[in-house]
């Protein structure tokens, strides 16, 4: 009985908090110049949904969907969104990291550079793709496509889907941390426009390494986080089994990332999630990428670079 009352009160408090957040969202310059189709309405729908369900479950659903084994991966989108695509292999130094796909493709009648994490669907391919966990070679390969695109004036798209950079001995020896840093720097310095989209798991440094774009989008059921829910639970709760609790606490879902100003827009998925209909998921993603690109292309290259700097310079909340 006491419990029920407590929960009731908590529910009311939560509703109040959400209404406040929604009001705040309306005031925010949410999609500064980025007219991702019907964004506000979708946002409203999403917030309503969060308001309607217990937030912890909602967040965990996003975690599960982001990792769904049938969720489309980078190459599934490339196949559907691009008229032609030539993959560029290797980092010209040491190897070819299969956890990253990079290349040049034709998108909406023009050439773009594409970089994306790639996971595998069966055991064999998963191992080959190292579960989408990148070695430094992968970031160097990504930087090579960025450089080619920049030199030729092709916009850069990145699709982010990784549990994190690979935590292995050789990856460390090859300078994992340093290459994640340099990949971010390379994206910050691009003269061409860039659009990133988190299409599954946006796992920590391995994700942000290729997500420092003019416009950063998130699919409705993707997650973007500083650490995996399991990792956070293992450290702060001292029990990896508390992952759901950890996820609820650090809120890696798209709506929260949008609210915190970390992403610029949410890309809708087909009913049930992207895994339910790859074609429709690709169509929705392509539409959002095209709109976002059109928006960031309005600026000239120097203005755009300055705007990109300012955007990431502003990230964070502190007291003074």
């Amino acid at each position: 009985m006491t419990m029920a009352t407590e929960e009731g009160t908590q529910g009311a408090v939560e509703q109040l908090r959400l209404r406040e957040r929604l009001a705040k969202l309306r005031e925010l310059p949410l999609l500064r110049g980025v007219g991702v189709s019907g964004e506000m309405a979708r946002l409203q729908r999403q917030i309503d949904r969060i308001g309607a369900e217990p937030s912890a479950d909602e967040v965990w659903r996003a975690v599960e969907l982001a990792r769904h084994q049938d969720r489309p991966y980078t190459l599934d989108y490339v196949e559907r969104m691009f008229d032609d695509f030539v993959e560029l292999h290797g980092d010209r130094s040491l190897g070819d990291d299969a956890a990253v796909v990079s290349g040049l493709g034709r998108f909406a009648g023009r050439t773009v550079g594409l970089i994306g994490h790639q996971k595998g669907r069966d055991i064999r391919e998963r191992t080959h793709r190292n579960f989408g966990m990148t070695y430094p070679e992968g970031y160097r390969k990504a930087m090579r496509t960025m450089e080619v695109a920049d030199r030729h004036g092709f916009p850069v798209f990145t699709l982010v889907d990784t549990p994190g950079a690979y935590p292995g001995v050789v990856a460390e020896q090859h300078g994992q941390g340093g290459w994640i840093a340099r990949s971010q720097l390379a994206m910050l310095r691009l003269r061409v426009p860039s659009v990133a989209c988190i299409i599954g798991e946006g796992g920590s440094g391995g994700a942000v390494a290729i997500a420092v774009a003019d416009c950063v989008l998130m699919q409705e059921n993707s997650i973007y986080s500083v650490i995996s829910p399991e990792g956070c639970a293992a450290i702060l709760w001292r029990d990896a089994g508390e992952a759901k609790k950890a996820a609820a606490a650090f809120k890696p879902d798209a709506a929260h990332c949008l609210e915190l100003g970390v992403v610029d827009g949410i890309v809708p998925e087909p009913p049930g999630g992207a895994h339910a209909d790859h074609d429709e998921a690709a169509r929705l993603l392509a539409a959002s990428l095209e709109e976002a690109l059109a928006a960031v292309e309005r600026l000239d290259s120097e203005e755009r670079r300055r705007a990109r700097h300012r955007k990431f310079r502003r990230m964070g909340l502190f007291l003074e």
């Binding site: 340093g178 994640i180 001292r238 964070g316 909340l317």
Partner: protein, 278 residues
């Protein structure tokens, strides 16, 4: 109700290792009083082990006496997620501030080192594991901007477990934020001397710390994106004995110089002179 459940969780998992006294040398087991280690810059006189140094003490070790002026001392972390694990984030912050006397895990400000002007940005591992949240990112970005404005070099000293989990995705965003700040230094151009102390890991290694024009490491410092315990647990690989240490990093080409702390100040002085155009 909820808090009672949480308390029981706190006792799960393996027992913490027996804690050694912080002034007992892990290298040779010599034990020191605090005032014995201060004049040796917290380096063990017996075996050369480098003990951790708090941020203020580090500033005193590096800056010419009385030249450091702390900037943004009032800047504090917010609690954007109202984060609560086993304890409230705000409580952990308050406790860290009392324990270290610092507002967050980094102090910044202009100083002179060996009579050369520079900007210092020094981290303190004692403040929540030197973790980088919004306050650290903002302080570092401002330090870079001050340095760029007067074309002075920036000297960073890092000691960090990585991004601060309690600020969630906003902590991850401090990676591109500090990288953008270093890019500002490069445009000025102002030199960036990155001194990596033990431990410089995860989000800090994967952002500004790795972007120094010159990267200096302290002997025996762990410099790794992923620490040895997690690598071992995740991959079951056999770890080399010097896994992730400064010496291994130098061998693989990630570090310019390993400098004994007792030589660090003159070494930085030389670099500052070299980075002075004429």
């Amino acid at each position: 109700m909820a808090s009672r459940i949480d308390v029981s969780i706190e006792h799960r998992g393996p027992e913490p290792e027996e804690r050694k006294h912080p002034n007992t040398c892990p290298g040779c087991h010599s034990h020191y009083r605090d005032d014995e280690l201060e004049p040796t810059l917290r380096v063990c006189p017996q075996c050369g082990h480098h003990f951790p140094v708090h941020a203020r003490e580090r500033v005193n070790q590096l800056a010419d006496r009385g030249t450091f002026e702390e900037a943004d001392a009032e800047l504090r972390s917010a609690d954007p997620l109202a984060f609560f694990d086993l304890r409230a984030y705000t409580e952990r912050l308050a406790e860290a501030e009392v324990a270290t006397g610092l507002g967050d895990a980094m102090i910044t400000g202009p100083a002179m080192v060996e009579r050369r002007p520079c900007e210092l940005a020094v981290m303190d591992f004692g403040f929540m594991g030197g973790s980088m949240g919004s306050a650290v990112g903002e302080k570092f970005a401002r330090a870079c901007e001050r340095a760029a404005e007067r074309r002075a070099p920036l000297v960073g000293v890092t000691a960090s477990g990585g991004a601060r989990m309690q600020e969630g995705i906003l902590s991850l965003m401090q990676l591109p934020k500090t990288v953008a700040a270093v890019d500002g230094l490069r445009e000025a151009p102002s030199a960036f001397i990155s001194v990596m102390a033990h431990p410089t890991t995860a989000g800090v290694l994967a952002s500004f710390a790795s972007l120094g024009d010159v990267i200096v490491a302290e002997p025996g410092a762990l410099l790794a994106f992923t620490g040895p315990r997690v690598v071992q647990q995740t991959t079951r690989e056999k770890l080399p004995e010097d896994f992730g240490l400064a010496e291994s990093n130098q061998r693989f080409g990630h570090v310019d110089a390993i400098v004994d702390r007792r030589e660090l100040r003159p070494f930085i002085g030389r670099l500052l002179t070299l980075f002075t155009p004429r």
